[in-house]
């Protein structure tokens, strides 16, 4: 299969050109090399999975993508431009949003306020207007609230709208975190193990939300996941890492039948 000019998925979605390209990325922490010379791309509108055993460098890769880590070598091309060294909030303002492996919400705040926080970069009235919460700032808040309410409706979390997220079960917190990422209206959504610690039913719900996000908003999604079954069902293309190296890249079927991937997951006699 050639991916040069985009492609059509088995379920009939059209995937566009390259949105982000990683070229020969190497990331070191002192003497430890977390990522070694990895290249791959993420295309407009696709669901791209990054898999690999523990310590393979998946989360490091995600942190490179959203500008939290700065690779020593290689370059990142986002929307056709080579990216400079930048901070995570700049990545956010370029339309990259993410969720975290360990839920990172404001525990004491309500679901609504947490998701509202995801709108921060879209709020333009200055701090003093916001403090007054009057006139233009109020109008702006109402506009943002409308967007947030659509997300609440989309994720079916109306019943926990006003509950502090600290009191919610883990599966729901994950959903709220997805909501906060969606509130930024990202063009690229990074999900770090969205299904970790969930039961089968919660996994099914989350899978449906991820597919719906991709379908309804056309959001490009890059996700890290351990559950191979989930990855195979969700992803259009999969990149597999092991010990910081890329060992496979392709459709789920190709990656699944790749001998290096099988060895990495099941272990091999050294």
């Amino acid at each position: 299969m050639s991916f040069d000019e985009g492609y059509t998925t088995p379920d009939g979605r059209t995937i566009g050109g390259v949105l982000m390209e990683m070229r020969n990325i190497t990331l070191k922490f002192g003497g430890v090399t977390a990522i070694k010379n990895i290249s791959f791309d993420i295309r407009q509108g696709e669901i791209r999975a990054i898999i690999g055993p523990n310590g393979a460098g998946k989360t490091s890769m995600l942190n490179v993508i959203n500008g939290f880590y700065h690779p020593q070598e290689g370059e990142i091309i986002f929307r056709g431009e080579t990216r400079r060294r930048m901070r995570p909030y700049e990545a956010a303002s370029q339309g990259i949003a993410r969720t975290f492996q360990n839920v990172a919400l404001f525990q004491g705040m309500s679901t609504l306020d947490n998701i509202m926080a995801g709108r921060t970069l879209k709020m333009h009235k200055n701090f003093f207007w916001q403090m007054l919460r009057y006139g233009p700032a109020l109008e702006e808040e109402i506009e943002h609230r409308k967007v947030v309410e659509k997300i609440i409706d989309f994720l079916e979390i109306q019943s926990i709208r006003k509950k502090p997220v600290g009191s919610l079960p883990y599966g729901l917190q994950k959903r709220v975190e997805l909501g906060r990422a969606l509130a930024a209206e990202p063009s690229l959504l990074l999900l770090d193990e969205p299904m970790a610690g969930m039961n089968v039913e919660e996994k099914e719900d989350m899978s449906r939300f991820i597919l719906d996000v991709n379908d309804e908003f056309g959001t490009t999604i890059a996700l890290i996941e351990h559950d191979m079954g989930v990855v195979m069902d969700l992803a259009d293309r999969v990149v597999a890492l092991d010990y910081g190296k890329k060992i496979a890249d392709g459709t789920p079927d190709e990656v699944q039948s790749n001998q290096d991937v099988i060895d990495a997951y099941l272990g091999v006699a050294h």
Partner: protein, 654 residues
């Protein structure tokens, strides 16, 4: 004969009532629905436009008079419109239980030969598509919520909004046809078809005419003086006759506003925001609410708890008398007024019942303590007795004659007689036309004079004329020694304990009675938490020895009270066990309205019943369970069987 009641003017169909309401109450709200965190509302005039456009769209899809249109989804204005629009073009709406699994739906859809299905969302569309090869007559599926539907093959699928837009676009051409269809409807044409959940056998399609629905709505609205200013929350299944009478019949008759909750989980919060004046809930709801209040009071500070208990005791003493307008001393009245300010009003507000003028409960017996709790707060909760075949109303409690142990006097326009075997018969303007495609059942239920057998055994109390229901006539039996066996009566006594969710009694033609118990997970779970008892599942908690002890004490209390009952003292429970799973409609053990299906339970748990009678103290068993998505699994458990203390029967007072 009352069954020939004539329409008032030309208001003989629901669409005609809609036209009247749009003219009379054009700018008053007809529907509200909470969406995106805000209560959206539609006036009667706007509602008429929405429904007309949909009806025109139906014509564009070639919907014919007499077609059956299945409606599947939770209570939403658009789905109510879908029903009325179907009536407008002369079709028959058939609302289904939205939580039914696909195979259950297949039977009903096949039986009524539905050409159209209106589904709320992707979940419901998926279910219908799954069974569509069993449904040769199905032509179109119309869905309301577009989410996730983009990738579906749309040759037989349409969005409801698109249908409305097409109808609106073609109104010049289609409106004459619609007017013609409207003329073809009258008091004797079918208004709606509702499938009875059926504690035995397959569900039956109850055909209700416009006369049935409109007369029942008119008479009951007059009885309770419902007006256009009333307000209700529609949250009970649309497939249930009660919802159709309250949210369609009485709503269109009086013009009051129907509010729909945001989702099933937000119902309690939405109830509080809307504050309905007219409210209906099954006993289970009131029990659950009371349990929730009591659990929260257990966790409250000691001072708050003291104040609460002090005033609730006072309410228990005089609250019901004040509500019934009986003489109460000035001091007690003053104290009640203070309690009202401090406890009753804030509590009612929390429950969403501060504006409730008339509340009803029906379907099952309600525990006297539960009933009295609400009434003593000043909530006018009453009971009624009804069924689908009667368009709800058979008996009803008038204000001032409300009691926990009767179901009231015959509703206006209803005649009642008691058969030789104790079975209750009725006839009224609400009496159903027939069971669809089932003349045998129609003939065996409704005689040529219009008397309908309810299947319930009951009697009129002397002096007051109130009807008392004992049990399903076919469930009432005899023990081996000839004494009366009325399982539901005993089960209700058990279920009045907050810790017991469900109970099933066995004993017909046996030496003595034994029982299955389901514990209430929220009540017992809270108790376990406070007593530092750890558990990971229902099954583990149900098998805990301390839980068994607690349930045993409840069973023995019931036995003690049964021993004093001259008619039913043979029904004392000798042995019992706590089931390892909750009885569930998905497993066919209960109906969707949560009534126990005895025959199925008898078969499914025959090993457990045998163990209860053969004296064993433990029993290992494996049970099949059905998950919400229709997949099956099984759980196994070893259950402990307990002997309960029985009390000497008091002398039969004949």
């Amino acid at each position: 004969m009352t069954a020939q009641a004539a329409p008032q003017g030309d208001l003989d169909t629901i669409p005609k009532l809609l036209a009247r309401n749009a003219k009379l109450y054009g700018d008053r709200p007809a529907y509200r629905e909470k969406e995106f965190g805000i209560w959206q509302s539609w006036t009667w005039a706007e509602t008429q436009v929405e429904i007309r456009n949909l009806a025109l769209g139906y014509l564009e899809l070639d919907m014919q008079p007499g077609d059956h249109v299945a409606i599947i989804g939770r209570n939403r204005p658009a789905l109510y419109w879908a029903m009325v629009a179907a009536q407008w073009v002369g079709a028959v709406p058939v609302p289904l239980y939205q939580d039914a699994v696909a195979e259950e739906m297949a039977y009903v859809l096949e039986h009524c030969g539905a050409r159209f299905v209106i589904a709320e969302d992707q979940e419901q569309v998926d279910k219908v598509l799954e069974i569509s090869d069993q449904l040769p007559q199905l032509e179109q599926i119309i869905y309301y919520d577009k989410r996730g539907m983009r990738k579906y093959d749309h040759t037989r699928l349409n969005a409801l909004r698109d249908i409305q837009a097409e109808g609106a676009a073609g109104h010049q051409r289609l409106e004459p046809i619609l007017r013609q269809r409207e003329q073809g409807q009258g008091y004797d044409t079918t208004c709606v078809m509702l499938y009875t959940s059926g504690t035995t056998g397959r569900p039956k399609g109850v055909v209700l005419s416009n006369r049935n629905i409109i007369e029942s709505s008119r008479v009951s609205a007059e009885f309770d003086k419902l007006t256009v200013d009333d307000s209700v929350l529609a949250y009970l299944p649309m497939a249930w006759v009660g919802d159709f009478i309250f949210s369609v019949g009485q709503c269109y008759w009086t013009g009051f506003c129907v509010s729909c909750p945001e989702s099933a989980e937000t119902m309690q919060a939405d109830l509080k925001e809307i504050g309905p004046t007219y409210f209906f809930a099954p006993p289970r709801f009131f029990e659950g609410l009371l349990t929730a209040v009591m659990i929260r009071m257990e966790d409250a500070s000691p001072i708050k708890r003291k104040i609460f208990n002090y005033f609730m005791d006072h309410a228990k003493k005089v609250g019901m008398r004040i509500l019934d307008g009986k003489p109460v001393s000035l001091g007690d009245r003053l104290k009640y007024a203070v309690g009202n300010f401090v406890i009753y009003e804030p509590l009612k507000n929390q429950l969403g019942m501060s504006r409730v003028r008339i509340g009803y409960t029906a379907g099952e017996a309600i525990g006297p303590e539960i009933f009295e709790f609400y009434r003593s707060l000043g909530i006018n909760l009453k009971q009624l007795y009804g069924q689908t075949e009667a368009s709800v109303y058979i008996t009803i409690q008038p204000d001032g004659e409300v009691r926990a142990d009767t179901v009231g006097i015959p509703a206006p326009g209803v005649e009642i007689k008691i058969g030789d075997n104790g079975e209750v018969y009725y006839r009224s303007a609400g009496t159903f036309v027939e069971y669809y495609k089932n003349p045998e059942s129609t003939a065996s239920t409704k005689d040529p004079e219009g008397w309908v057998a309810t299947g319930d055994a009951g009697y009129f109390e002397e002096g007051t004329g109130h009807l008392k229901i004992i049990d399903r006539a076919k469930d009432v039996g005899k023990l081996a020694d000839g004494s009366l066996f009325a399982p539901k009566y005993v089960e209700n006594k058990l279920k009045f304990y907050p810790n017991i969710l469900e109970a099933v009694l066995f004993g017909a033609d046996r030496e003595n009675c034994v029982a299955f118990i389901n514990i209430d997970l929220s009540a017992v779970g809270n108790w376990a938490e406070r007593n530092n008892i750890g558990y990971s599942s229902y099954q583990e908690l149900a098998g805990h020895p301390k839980v068994l002890d607690m349930i045993q004490s409840h069973v023995e209390e019931v036995n003690a009270s049964l021993a004093t009952d001259p008619m039913l003292n043979g029904c004392q429970i000798h042995r019992f066990l706590i089931l390892h799973k909750e009885l569930d409609p998905d497993d066919g053990e209960m109906t969707r309205t949560r009534k126990v299906r005895r025959r199925i339970i008898d078969e499914k748990y025959s090993d457990l019943i045998q163990a209860l009678y053969d004296g064993s103290t433990t029993i290992s068993t494996t049970t099949e369970v059905t998950y919400e998505d229709g997949r099956k699994g099984s759980i196994s458990a070893t259950l402990e069987i307990r002997d309960a203390k029985v009390f000497p029967r008091e002398a039969k007072a004949a």
